[in-house]
Symmetry: C3
């Protein structure tokens, strides 16, 4: 058969037009992770988010400040200037800006002109991460921030990390909503052959997309087998929920237990991973990650072991998505078409939702 | 005088509009070299030809397979996947494709969807090279493949090599049809001062363009003087035929002999070079080369000596054409004009033919 | 307040439309520095000026030749060819060009075609620099070249240098017309805190823009304090004139003296810096510099000390302007606006003048 007929290809291309992709403008009105809190100290940090250059710092009182990273006098990046008493002094001509983005001093003249300032952005620090709202400030509602209480709770041991992804963020969300890729992209790390073939359920509603998969019995890869002690062939149950919570957060929750023990007394081992993609540009993404577990909380060796193993696997995603991005960039439009299968249902629904969000925002 | 009048420049620019150049789309309906046969083994090889990403492999039975290098599910390059029993398993979600480009397995579901597949390309392996037809498969006629029997014959000793050219392939064909450049671009390698000034003849017909040059007597450069023993000043005759055989093949045939010996008994030394350019992108070209001789066939030292000397010279072409490409890319359109002289007649006819081919193909 | 209202932003954006910036085409009809004289020897030198590729050489008689760097036969850069007896032989097919840009030999034929040639450019060597006129040759009037006699006079000790600037040349002129940046961009080199706050005067007329600043008393930074001996706290007067002389030349003249000595007998120390930007492309600039002083003329250690100190500071400009250029390139148009203050008056007038010059030239 080889390539399908042009009719079939055109139908596939038309279906894709309804899905968000690398060409979809960013959705501004949502919470995204700007940084880990520990990255923002009492010094200037430059970072591009959603195509805008920002500068961050923490005031002496501990508050996070996020400003446009451009002096409105002569466009020097403010991040190349100096932080003095919680104000930024531009490194070019010394214009000074306060935490509100107001220009409060022009050294070459006695009076500072009014009406000169730059944009400030609302941020919200919670647990290990700093969230930012880049869109309409009036809509910056904390109720839209999906709760991640476990990151702050004492009975969860957490570690965190960052990866630089050379691909559009939508494709990372898509990746996270079709975990059949574990058996292939992660064949050498935490994938197991049975994962892709296991039965799954989906939960699809407006703005919430989840994939549920129970692999029972299964043999755990070392990353989970060793810390839980469930190292036997076919000893474990692996109960997975992978869920798009918002444009800035995808959460994976897994429970492991010994499937040969009776339901009552068997210990449960739970892990959670918050995957937090923030677009940098149309084809690059900041990929923040927090991983937690509710067992062996006081064992730093386990933390280190799991962190190292997991980041090998997450790097496989980053490498794979970068290859995909290159193909998407280099394929002539008429040759580009994609087909979806049943397992893609949550990802397709998510991409349709993202495009809807963007189109509604553009109209508003 | 300096720069000519605008009238003259405009006339030159208009004349160039009838010649193929870096902006001419590729001619798809022809045979091009995809690879040397030895490059394609029972493993995946990625290569971009005529602007399309392909993946190659050799089946366990030895047949060459050429497929579109993009999974039609989520655009992962198939070359990043695995080859299993002559089928490719995509490295992302495990979709499996056979040698015909049909998708034959989707791991997450029991039944494989129909109508999912990728393009296959017809290839033809002959002697040391694998040819490919990228255009309309129905026109892929082996009679259009110019014969190169000498590459396979026992009385020709051959060597082969590859160069990566950072220029459009048309300019390489042009280079090969005006060998007066030997005296200049190759002054330090195999050029001799008398070559450019020697009388020449041309053969121009539809699709066949040749340049004939007899340099008698001449002094051979070491690359040919040493292997033939014709090392004396003015001892040699150098009879050259340089011919555009197709878009994918230019052949240079040279006969050397001692011009002081009588015509009857003097030995003849023949060499042939197949220059096989295959466009990669509009400004990069795969440059495959096979060189043969019909003397000293069993002497590997001669093979190595000639190969090394020749590739120094071919690299000079590659370096020079890359400089030319940069000038063509950076010169404002209004400042760009080129004049041709008598020696350019075959190259100009060839470039006109290539443009005609492309325009006919676009209309069909 | 943060970012100003859209009305204010739009007004700022509209005001900027009347100022030259990175998108303004080059003004061709003016003298620019092509090279230091010592760079041009009896060999080929390639350099791009105002977006055009040129090749330079000095004839055996010592005259500077500037030609288009492109063979009009097949677009090979002539700078990759050979210089033979004051003529260039193209390195591809041996076409030969004289100092007037005329093609005078085509090796493959007995007669050289007429009407084949390339553009020559008028140059003028004076003191250490070679000026070039890239525009309409009929307007190349030496009276338009601003005099810089001091560079050639015995009582001025000079040194020279070159910096490669990754920014548009207009922003370098702007930088030189607002020296309040000395206190900030050069805080670690030759800036002093009082400079930005000192009173200033401006001289603005059509095509001549100057900024005058007397800082009295002041403490000199080492670059000037040490060579003049004015190292005391508040000992010195620093009388600065910074002037846009032409598109290719900005001159800074400074006089230092001991402000505690009586006006009559106190020695005066004068320095001059010729800042000579020549656009290479829209976003890169050749930055030629000549620095002179009228004291300690015979002390090479002083020359070296001042040169090294100054080039640390000039590199700060180059680094800062490259950052500014990146911001200008990456900021979405709707987010880009700049406000000017009183100290910007000469720079704003200069940028308006440059845009006027370009627009008049485009109409002519």
């Amino acid at each position: 058969m080889t390539r399908p007929s042009q009719t079939v290809i055109t139908a596939a291309q038309n279906a894709s037009l309804r899905l968000a992709d690398r060409q979809t403008p960013f959705v501004m009105n949502d919470w995204y992770v700007a940084a880990f809190g520990e990255e923002i100290q009492n010094q200037l940090l430059a970072r591009t988010l959603l195509g805008r250059r920002l500068v961050f710092y923490r005031t002496t009182e501990g508050r996070v400040v996020a400003l446009e990273d451009r002096c409105p006098h002569r466009s020097m990046p403010l991040s190349a200037g100096m932080l003095e008493h919680d104000t930024i002094v531009c490194g070019y001509h010394g214009f000074r800006f306060n935490t509100e983005g107001d220009c409060i001093e022009v050294p070459s003249q006695a009076n500072c002109p009014k009406n000169v300032g730059i944009k400030t952005y609302r941020t919200h620090e919670r647990g290990p991460v700093v969230w930012i709202w880049m869109g309409d400030a009036e809509q910056a509602d904390l109720s839209k921030l999906p709760a991640q209480d476990w990151m702050e709770e004492a009975d969860w041991a957490c570690s965190q990390g960052y990866l630089s992804l050379k691909a559009n963020y939508v494709r990372l969300h898509e990746n996270l909503l079709d975990l059949t890729h574990l058996s292939y992209l992660h064949a050498k790390s935490f994938g197991t052959p049975d994962y892709a073939k296991a039965a799954f359920e989906t939960e699809i509603s407006d703005g919430q997309f989840a994939l549920l998969r129970n692999v029972v019995p299964t043999t755990l890869p070392p990353v989970w087998g060793i810390p839980t002690g469930l190292t036997g062939q076919g000893q474990a149950a692996r109960i997975v929920r992978s869920e798009f919570r918002s444009l800035g957060l995808h959460e994976v929750s897994v429970t492991f237990y010994d499937c040969h023990l009776p339901e009552g007394g068997r210990p449960q081992f739970r892990i959670r991973t918050a995957h937090m993609p923030t677009p940098e540009t149309a084809t690059t993404t900041h990929y923040f990650l927090v991983h937690g577990r509710d067992f062996a909380q006081d064992d730093p060796a386990t933390t280190r072991f799991m962190h190292d193993q997991l980041f090998v696997a997450f790097q496989e995603d980053v490498d794979g998505l970068a290859l995909q991005e290159q193909v998407l960039a280099n394929t002539p439009a008429e040759d580009l078409y994609e087909f979806s299968v049943a397992a893609d249902a949550p990802a397709v629904a998510m991409r349709r939702y993202v495009l809807d969000r963007q189109q509604k925002e553009a109209k508003a």
